[in-house]
């Protein structure tokens, strides 16, 4: 048996040995917590429009996003966000809360390495790729839109 064959066999054996996880409980938690965050955002949005009748809907959306980003960062700072996220999974990652947490958590983690090369530089280690892909994707969409 060559080394490659041995390794392939071992990898297959390990794969089979890993206890299968069930998707449904995770999906359920992600659904209700993710849904709850969205409802929270909607309530905030509606309240804004009630309190400030002259506010444009577009501005209310922006304020809602800022509210959710702040909330997620605040909970990250309190050390609560990751505890919720263990149960929620995609429920907290998919809304803008996940993005906020992915910036706030490395900023906190690396502040000991200094403001410039620690906090500011490392702030984007996780969210950086999302920003790059997001920018590139919007450029491509923009180009397509230009020629349509």
């Amino acid at each position: 048996m060559t080394e490659i064959e041995r390794n392939e066999r071992y990898n297959k054996y390990v794969e089979a040995k890993i206890a299968k996880t069930h998707a449904w409980p995770s999906l359920f938690n992600a659904f209700w917590i993710g849904g709850f965050i969205c409802v929270l955002g909607q309530i905030f949005n509606d309240l804004l429009l009630i309190w400030f009748p002259t506010m444009a809907t577009q501005s209310a959306w922006t304020f809602t996003l800022i509210f959710l980003i702040f909330l997620a960062s605040f909970l990250t700072g309190l050390g609560v966000f990751d505890k919720i996220a263990v149960y929620a999974g995609a429920g907290t990652i998919v809304p803008i809360t996940g993005f906020s947490n992915s910036i706030a958590s490395p900023a906190m983690e690396f502040k000991n390495e200094g403001i410039v090369f620690g906090m500011c530089a490392k702030m984007f280690v996780i969210a950086g790729p999302v920003i790059v892909f997001g920018t590139v994707a919007s450029m491509i969409v923009g180009l397509i839109y230009l020629f349509l």
Partner: protein, 352 residues
């Protein structure tokens, strides 16, 4: 694995563990071995500004505690052997600044406890040094940021992942005094079975552990039944199951005397998935539970196999597979060692 001869060395001059000490974090202090640890930290920072500094302080306390338990003065310490998980083993080297003792830094990832004991026992057995401190440590928060993600990032851990133990342990080896005796050591080979999943360390290290165990049993002409306890470092639940299967493939049946430090350090209610890992895992379990049980006579002969995954954050990002290693030491109670020597002598006499 076929040419596994001569990996084992034997210590005839009885290098003994005359003192030992363990210090753990708050989470480990709530685990199933809580009453065995010498010191349980109240918080992960241990009064320091950073987790890295806390880890160093843990090593310093472990060494000083072991020196105290060994009933020697810090001045009598002749050599400090230590290693850890952080880049350039800064924990050990920086902790060594506070001791006026020659220092040798070791790296064997999570296998460092057995590695330092094997090297230390060799030096003591040869008579070069006396009162050698063998130590290692790991910290959940420093390991996480080096190998994985920021602490507060809201992600879910894969079911095969393990929890890095916050803890440090130290043994003082000497050829004088009393204590459990290190009788032999088996140095392990690096094995790589092509696993590249950083969240599945058990399956990375299990082949390494199997290789060392097979070499040990063949070299010493023993079987798993000859030991009161065979304990691996941090294979976790999955890794231990794989090890049992791998050993059975080679004709060795691991019985109820087999256990894994990663599986016993936490209790079932602590969400650590496959169990504990890190240098501190095997170091704290050895320097509390195991050595205390050897001292009170519950265990007479223990095979301690610390397992390590030799990866770096860079190697993982470049897609390399992860090599594993395991070193083994046999620790016997003093009575057991003396009796077995007497038996050998009486056998020789009866032959004459």
């Amino acid at each position: 694995m076929s040419d596994s001869k001569y990996q084992t060395i034997y210590f005839k001059n009885k290098p003994k563990i005359i003192g030992f000490y363990s210090i753990v974090g708050p989470k480990e202090g709530k685990g199933s071995l809580k009453e065995y640890f010498d010191y349980i930290m109240k918080d992960d920072l241990f009064g320091e500004k950073t987790y890295e500094k806390a880890e160093r302080k843990m090593v310093e306390q472990a060494v000083m505690g072991a020196v105290y338990n060994a009933n020697i003065t810090p001045k009598e310490l002749q050599l400090f052997l230590s290693g850890d998980l952080l880049n350039q083993i800064v924990t050990s080297s920086f902790a060594a600044r506070s001791f006026d003792v020659p220092y040798v830094g070791l790296f064997g990832a999570c296998s460092t406890m057995a590695e330092s004991l094997a090297v230390g026992a060799s030096l003591v057995n040869a008579g070069y040094f006396n009162n050698v401190a063998c130590s290692t440590a790991s910290h959940f928060s420093t390991a996480e940021r080096q190998f994985r993600y920021p602490l507060e990032l809201g992600n879910q851990r894969p079911p095969t992942s393990q929890w890095t133990v916050t803890g440090a342990g130290c043994c003082i080896l000497s050829n004088k005094g009393d204590g459990p005796v290190i009788t032999s050591a088996t140095f392990g080979k690096v094995t790589d079975f092509g696993i590249n999943d950083v969240n599945n360390m058990g399956s990375v290290m299990a082949p390494g552990a199997a290789s060392t165990l097979i070499a040990h049993f063949n070299d010493t002409n023993t079987t798993p039944d000859d030991y009161d306890l065979i304990v691996t470092g941090d294979l976790g639940k999955l890794g231990s199951e794989i090890l049992i299967d791998l050993m059975e493939d080679h004709g060795f049946k691991m019985g109820v005397n087999y256990n894994d430090c990663g599986q016993i350090i936490y209790n079932g209610k602590q969400s650590v998935l496959m169990g504990g890992s890190g240098c501190g895992c095997s170091a704290t379990v050895l320097n509390s539970y195991i050595l205390k049980k050897i001292k009170n006579g519950e265990y007479k002969k223990v095979l301690f196999v610390a397992t390590g995954a030799l990866l770096s954050a860079t190697s993982t990002q470049q897609g390399d597979t992860i090599p594993g290693i395991a070193h083994a030491v046999v620790i016997e109670s003093q009575e057991n060692f003396d009796n077995s020597k007497k038996n050998v002598k009486s056998k020789k006499r009866s032959k004459k």
